[in-house]
């Protein structure tokens, strides 16, 4: 799709992305983010002008670094108390959340 960088991000796009991220935005926020996202696309447009002929796609910012492994060795886990320390709601060692399935 040819991107002119102008008016690609509509109000609906912002609302869609916000919904995917479970964010609720008010009218002014939606408008502000629409402008910011549009700005990002403008910047990408600028980057497109760089000649990348013969350059491999970069999947990582440290291209020379590879094969970083850990051995399959146990390290201590957190205690249940520590694991749940910051949880806003908990019960019997579990994190407690609003029910996510309907009956």
């Amino acid at each position: 799709m040819e991107n002119t960088g102008k008016n690609i991000i509509t109000k609906e796009t912002v609302e869609y992305v916000a919904r995917l991220s479970r964010l609720s935005l008010d009218e002014s926020e939606t408008d502000r983010f629409r402008g910011q996202l549009e700005g990002i696309l403008d910047y990408i447009e600028q980057l497109k002008e760089v000649d990348t002929e013969g350059t491999l796609p970069t999947t990582h910012v440290l291209p020379s670094m590879k094969n970083v492994f850990r051995e399959d060795k146990l390290t201590p886990s957190l205690s249940n108390d520590d694991a749940l320390a910051n949880a806003p709601s908990k019960k019997d060692g579990f994190f407690k959340v609003p029910r996510v399935i309907k009956d």
């Binding site: 479970r22 990582h60 492994f69 399959d72 886990s77 060692g93 579990f94």
Partner: protein, 481 residues
């Protein structure tokens, strides 16, 4: 199925890899611990942590790749799959999008009649498992246990080439057998270490285009996979016959009602917004790793089946029983070699030994039977040192005490009596005490003799040589004529 449609099935199988620790952190990878006790900042998705790939999980995945005749990707990267659900603390799953570890494989699947068909394996990729949710049915809450989060998971995707629910079943049996042979997963469906989703569509016989597919979830056994596909095949066929159209959707299998039910579609389409995970650098599979992993693959079921057929004169069905589990097959080969009798070793293992395994709810390893000891018992039974009945008793005693079978025979004085003088008393007593059977035998009823032999066995507490007892009975009865 009527001949009007053909069925197209694809399977997605998730296998939990049996590493000591999780895929990106050092927490224990084990089922059944108290909730949220095998967690750390990495698998809890705390900010600022760095996941590092478990070498063992990577190697296990490569082993499976080779066993499934896959190509292994030269450069492997991990991607973030973004979605929001409480079982996923980071709000993304580390998975692999466009460069899976393995691709383009195949699996030879044979049906009950032994007919083999090749099913393509599209890809296999490594990812992390999510946590577990328990839903409160009396209150509007769900409870989250993140012990499972970060368990190494290998997703194996088949080509849509499976032609029937029955074949789907056999694909799973074959796949599970291979993965278990490799020793990379216990494939225990009850504990969720093997999970399966199925895709099914119908198309007019001979059509090129695939029909609209339905995904089935909540499949807790291979039987459920087959049954749900049979149900869905029929449902789609009826719908198409009535001129209806199939809706692309996810349906849940209800095991107790034997139906699939439409899962209420989530708001909006799935949009995972994959992108490369900057926390993980790319991986290049080194030649040495490839050599090591290939060398580490044991003889797989298909090759074993062929070799067993050639080396041991056994029935096909016996071979299937013996090679179903690698440990059983290995055990069999040791016993057969030590006992020097392949057929007897097979009969003992699929009979008595498996009976004891079932009784104790364990496998061959758990039974703790020394192949050397079983071989000794078999040799004594084949030679006639002990009767078949006594041999069973010796096995039972050996399983309880671990004592040398030869010693057990001595201690319980189970040696078979093959001496006429010693048996004479028992034979005479049986003839005197069973006049009716003796007369039956005299009047030509051959099977009356088996009864009398049985009585001699009883009289001698199973120690008599039944063949000799039979001969002596014949002789003595003839003399009294």
């Amino acid at each position: 199925m009527s001949s009007k449609y053909e069925t197209v099935i694809g399977l997605e199988v998730h296998v939990q890899l049996d590493t000591e620790t999780k895929v990106f952190c050092g927490c224990r990878n084990a089922f059944g611990a108290e909730p949220n006790t095998q967690v750390c900042p990495v698998c809890l998705g705390q900010p600022g942590v760095l996941p590092v790939l478990n070498k063992k999980a990577f190697e296990f995945a490569i082993k499976v790749a080779f066993a499934l005749n896959c190509q292994v990707q030269k450069i492997i990267k991990f991607d973030r799959k973004n979605y929001y659900y409480p079982d996923l603390p980071k709000n993304y799953q580390i998975s692999q999008y466009d460069m899976p570890i393995a691709y383009n494989g195949k699996l030879n699947v044979s049906d009950e009649a032994g007919k083999v068909r090749e099913i393509g394996v599209t890809r296999a990729h490594l990812e992390e498992d999510a946590g577990k949710l328990i839903h409160d049915l009396s209150a509007p809450f769900s409870y989250v246990d993140l012990n499972r989060t970060g368990t190494p998971l290998l997703e194996i995707v088949s080509e849509p080439e499976i032609q029937s629910p029955e074949e789907a079943y056999h694909y799973l049996v074959t796949l599970k057998q291979i993965v278990k042979y490799l020793g990379v997963s216990d494939c225990n469906m009850e504990e969720g270490s093997l999970r399966c989703d199925a895709n099914i569509s119908l198309r007019e016989e001979g059509a090129k285009e695939l029909g609209v597919k339905v995904e089935i979830k909540n499949l807790n056994s291979f039987k459920a996979v087959r049954d749900s596909l049979l149900h869905e095949e029929e449902r789609q066929e009826d719908l198409l016959d009535e001129g209806g159209t199939i809706k692309q959707e996810t349906r849940l299998w209800n095991d107790s009602k034997n139906v699939t039910v439409s899962m209420r579609t989530k708001e909006g389409a799935q949009d995972y917004r994959y992108f490369p995970d900057p926390d993980l650098v790319p991986f290049e599979v080194e030649q040495e790793t490839i050599r090591e992993m290939k060398a580490d693959i044991p003889e797989l079921p298909e090759a074993k089946r062929k070799r067993f057929t050639k080396e041991y004169a056994l029935d096909e069905s016996d071979i299937e029983v013996l090679i179903a589990e690698k440990d059983t097959a290995d055990f069999y080969e040791q016993v057969a070699a030590k006992a020097g009798d392949a057929k007897a070793a097979c009969n003992w293992i699929k009979g008595e030994v498996m009976m004891h395994m079932n009784d104790r709810g364990t496998d061959i390893k758990g039974l703790g039977l020394d192949p050397e000891n079983l071989a000794r018992i078999i040799k004594m039974a084949v030679k006639g040192t002990i009767s078949g009945l006594s041999a069973k008793e010796v096995l039972k005693a050996n399983l309880e005490t671990g004592e040398d079978p030869v010693k057990i025979v001595k201690e319980k004085s189970l040696e078979q009596v093959s001496d006429e003088g010693t048996l004479d008393e028992a034979v005479t007593k049986v003839i005197e005490g069973n006049e009716r059977s003796v007369n039956d035998f005299k009047s030509g009823k051959e099977n009356a003799l088996s009864f009398l032999v049985g009585q001699v066995m009883k009289e001698t507490r199973g120690k008599a040589n039944p063949k000799l007892a039979g001969e002596m009975l014949r002789k003595k009865i003839a003399e009294t004529r």
